[in-house]
């Protein structure tokens, strides 16, 4: 029995890759794998987020809890999160979550002294170690400053607003960022959106299509809510311009039936190929997010392996089992 394997060998093709956006094709696997990856990306890839706030002075219009919540939602750069510890199982600090292995400290100290409204933003947060962890917009500014060809315009970026101050108001606090996952609280989710769709296969019945007048063709092409088909201006033939624009709405199929031409087009979802789009919050790069998700899913499966003592426990039934199975020769 050993040695037989039902393993698949998926294929990947990247279509578009930016730091916070990724579009790729995943082939030769099934929907359960695609969906598991999507679920892991949304809820189980770790990042850092502010989790503990000690407020020293708060004379702003927002109450302490409100500010603490807003601080939590600021995405922080989390490239190191995979190798960090969860503070609940960190040995170095008895689970206080205040050591370098499991946390990063931030301070914020702002006071408004002018008559203009002062915005307190993510850029006012001072990280104890900016190379490891800082708000994503601050990190983007820092990388753009090193690259003279970058399209980034710092004057357009004003940081993520936490609260606004009037003259005399002050906010002073200390915050601890910790490692966590989206399942615990959505502030730790590294993904803005993750979607996948089945790749559609569209076949036009050319013979049947030729029985249509140009006017009929035009009205059939128009019946699709998204621009999937087009009429070639030279040959006046209906051609598929963008199969992926098809939303599985069946409108063109209904239209063909209403026109008395069922079977005009045949549309199938290829059940083993998927088109993924991944958008990241900026906490980790979109490509790294996918890699981390694969690794986390692998670790999860490793964790659900049967422990040795369960297997041994079954061995005690071995003889009985073999007897029941009728294989005791």
């Amino acid at each position: 029995m050993e040695g037989i394997s039902y393993q698949r060998f998926p294929k990947v093709k990247i279509r578009e890759m930016k730091d916070d956006y990724l579009k790729f094709e995943l082939r030769e696997t099934d929907a359960s794998m695609a969906n598991a990856l999507r679920r892991v990306m949304l809820a189980e890839v770790p990042t850092l987020a502010i989790d503990l706030v000690e407020i020293e002075v708060n004379s702003t219009v927002l109450n302490d809890e409100f500010i603490a919540h807003r601080l939590g939602l600021i995405p922080l750069t989390s490239d190191r999160a995979m190798s960090m510890r969860f503070s609940r199982d960190c040995d170095a600090c008895d689970g206080d979550g205040q050591c370098e292995f499991c946390s990063v400290e931030f301070t914020l100290n702002v006071r408004c002294t002018s008559d203009h409204t002062l915005d307190v933003t993510s850029t006012d947060l001072r990280s104890s170690d900016p190379t490891i962890c800082c708000p994503v917009d601050v990190a983007a500014r820092a990388t753009a400053a090193l690259d003279p060809n970058s399209a980034y315009d710092p004057s357009e970026q004003r940081g993520i607003i936490i609260v606004k101050l009037r003259r005399g108001q002050e906010l002073r606090l200390r915050a601890i960022a910790r490692k966590g996952i989206g399942k615990d609280h959505a502030k730790w989710s590294p993904a803005a959106t993750v979607t996948f769709m089945y790749e559609p296969e569209i076949h036009i019945n050319e013979d049947l299509m030729e029985t249509l007048t140009l006017e009929e063709k035009r009205s059939w092409v128009e019946s699709s809510p998204t621009k999937v088909f087009e009429i070639d201006p030279n040959t006046q033939q209906v051609v598929v311009v963008d199969p992926e624009a098809y939303t599985y709405d069946d409108e063109v199929i209904k239209k063909a039936e209403a026109m008395g031409k069922p079977g005009l087009v045949d549309i199938n979802a290829k059940e083993d190929s998927f088109i993924f789009t991944v958008e990241s919050t900026g906490a980790i790069k979109a490509s790294q997010l996918v890699i981390n998700a694969i690794e986390i899913l692998r670790q999860k499966l490793d964790a659900v392996r049967l422990s040795l003592d369960t297997e041994e426990c079954d061995e005690q039934f071995g003889e009985l089992g073999a007897h029941l199975r009728g294989s005791a020769v």
Binding site: Y6, P10, T29, M33, N35, R88, L301, C313
Partner: protein, 116 residues
């Protein structure tokens, strides 16, 4: 005030096993596995992999209740195999698939960042 800790959804409590195995008392080669603190992510992927094994006559999973953070995986095999063997085989195959996927994906990222 009396809300349970959020981490209870994914941290296995001390003294409980991650996976427990229950042999069916009436049907030979049938068993159910209780996996603590897992959900559809692992349940569905495991079930689909078990369906690939021709010795598996039945494989299914359920999440008994949304507030009980565990899943039940039930496997029934032919006499050529056993639920435990099928279960281990499925995990091994998925593990290999993910290792393959990871290296393929990393290669593609490298290739893509070089070309563009």
């Amino acid at each position: 005030m009396n809300a349970p800790d959020r981490y209870e959804r994914f941290v296995v409590p001390e003294g409980t096993k991650k996976v427990s195995y229950d042999r069916d008392t009436k049907i030979i080669n049938a068993a159910s596995f209780t996996i603590e603190r897992e959900d559809h992510t692992v349940g569905n992927v495991l079930r689909m992999q078990l369906h690939k094994d021709p010795n598996v006559l039945f494989a299914g999973y359920k999440l008994p209740h949304p507030l009980q953070y565990k899943i039940l995986v039930r496997i029934h095999t032919t006499s050529q195999s056993s639920p435990m063997q099928a279960y281990n085989q499925a995990i091994n195959d998925l593990d290999k698939e993910l290792n393959h996927l990871k290296s393929v994906f990393e290669d593609e990222v490298r290739r893509h960042s070089r070309d563009f």
